[in-house]
């Protein structure tokens, strides 16, 4: 009994420490975004600044048209991407969940093999730019890599197999319901937990993706998502700090790069939707990881 109590106290102490470690960097970012910029330059990013300011946010939402626009692109991308991804994943997963569908083996192999062997960046880039010409279009953010993956299909398929009683589906068939009707009226309503999980996986992947924009959006900066904008900004800062030996260049550039507090405010704005949604969706996320088990 005494042993148990000691363990509990120790466990609390360690877990509090780890939780603080997990959120400390985000705390620094958010605090810095509310810190007076002159203070930041003098004393650096701090957890307890002596002077606060909301200037960074005023700046972003008054002059920063590009931020608002990038936000719009990210929101649209996430909505469209999640919806498309969820529909094609569900439909394909349901088809291969039927134990007696002819061609099941071949289709499953086609899906699983895509997980094991891939062409990698170079050939993929060639196909998307030369054959489909999606460079500098919205489709470049939406399609390459993100739209669907074998892992989500297999996860969903195993849910269909294990959690939807075959008797119900058989009964519907005997009553004369076609496959489409059964899918829409019976399977979908019974699959809400897995639909929520897959939607969540897809949504987070779309909101966080910066690579497609980085690779395929080279000219149309109006198509930048929040992540791409942040990425570009950080690169500019690095570029200027590297070439700062050239004094003239540096002073000319300083006007163009955002202030130290504005940078952090932009990152905070980029993370905001995740922080707001997270408490509500975390449950589904954990469930999904548990379902995926070691395969994740």
């Amino acid at each position: 009994m005494k042993d148990e109590k000691k363990f509990q106290i120790l466990a609390h102490a360690v877990l509090i420490l780890l939780s603080v470690c997990a959120i400390l960097p985000m705390a620094l970012m958010i605090i810095s975004s509310f810190t007076d910029n002159d203070l930041l330059i003098a004393e650096g990013y701090k957890f307890l600044p002596s002077k606060w300011s909301v200037y960074a946010y005023e700046y972003i939402f008054s002059t920063g048209n590009s931020v608002v626009r990038a936000y719009g692109v990210s929101v649209l991308l996430t909505l469209v991407g999640t919806l498309l991804s969820l529909s094609i994943t569900t439909m394909l997963a349901y088809a291969i969940s039927k134990p007696d569908i002819p061609g099941k083996g071949i289709i499953t192999f086609f899906i699983v093999f895509s997980m094991l062997f891939n062409g990698g960046l170079v050939p993929t880039y060639m196909i998307y730019t030369n054959v489909f010409s999606i460079k500098n279009t919205f489709a470049a953010l939406l399609i390459p890599g993100l739209l669907m993956n074998a892992f989500n299909i297999m996860l969903m398929k195993s849910y269909f197999v294990s959690s939807i009683p075959a008797e119900i589906l058989d009964a519907a068939y005997i009553d004369g319901a076609g496959e489409t009707v059964t899918f829409l009226r019976i399977v979908i309503p019974l699959s809400k937990p897995i639909l929520a999980t897959i939607a969540l996986f897809a949504g987070i992947a779309y909101w966080n993706d910066w690579m497609n924009g980085y690779i395929y959006i080279t000219k149309r900066t109006d198509l930048y998502s929040v992540q791409n904008l942040l990425n570009r900004m950080m690169q500019n800062i690095q570029f200027l700090s590297q070439s700062s030996s050239n004094v003239q260049n540096a002073t000319a550039g300083l006007a163009a790069i955002p202030l130290a507090s504005v940078r952090m405010a932009m990152a905070a704005v980029g993370i905001l939707p995740i922080l707001v949604m997270y408490p509500f969706v975390q449950k589904y996320f954990v469930k999904g990881i548990t379902l995926g088990g070691v395969k994740g």
Partner: protein, 314 residues
Amino acid sequence: MSRKKESLNDKKTLKKRLIRYIPLYIMALPGLIYLFINNYMPLPGLVLAFKKYNAKKGIFGSENVGFKNFKYLFATKDAFVITRNTICYNLAFIVVNTILAIFVAILLSEMLSKLKNLYQCLILLPYMISMVIVSYLVYGFLSTDNGFLNNTLLPLFGKDPINWYMEKKYWPFLLTFVNAWKVVGYNSIIYISTILGIDRGIYESAAIDGAGKWMQIRKITIPLLKPTVIMMTLLAIGRIFYSDFGLFYQVPQNQGALFAVTNTIDTYVYRGLLELGNMSMASAAGLYQSVVGFVLILGANFLVRKFDRDSALF
């Protein structure tokens, strides 16, 4: 006679099933087309590794050069550096993340208080954040001019500021730390689900026999986690030739001074393709990764299958 009848019957039901499932084939089509475009159409492009790429002639019109690209690639120091970095970082990640994840999983699953949900929620949070934002978070601490370390922490101990983004000796530790920070919460969930599956009766009878908490964890929980650990490790080894591009590209901010310790196969291929325009090297390194990666995944899956069929990928 009866067999003939049966196969006739089979044919009949096959036709029936085909007709019955037509709507499902149509439903499966968009997903299959996407997989074909995204995962299969690029495969023939792998031959680029054996060609001298000429944009005007296209992939298949370009001149064949045999294994020349590979000869060049492996003659440079790069081939060794990127292979070493990719494998060594992955090994470090496997060891560090496994130990930390099991540690967190045991603490969380043994916790009686409701607070455990809050702890789990917070520890998992970093997993949700994009690498671009992680690079900002790291910058907040490491920035030479404004960073927390140089301005607050190091002066506290009377140390001089460090030019973090120029000094490569710190980065193996920094990257291992950032990676652990990001993924330990995720990995621990998998171990928690194994621990929750352990029969509580075992613990109760151990407690009656006088085994303390520490003894129970050491003699029951950890041995019973072994199969999961082995499985997770094998699958991670199957992916040892792949690296998290964002971690190695964004977090060190693509700094040339750090390439010796941050360049992995993925970042090398990316730079070859889009920054240096060195298509031959990029495609040779890409094929090298695809082929070795494929062999490793097959090998790992073979072992997993022997060990526990249900956990195998296929």
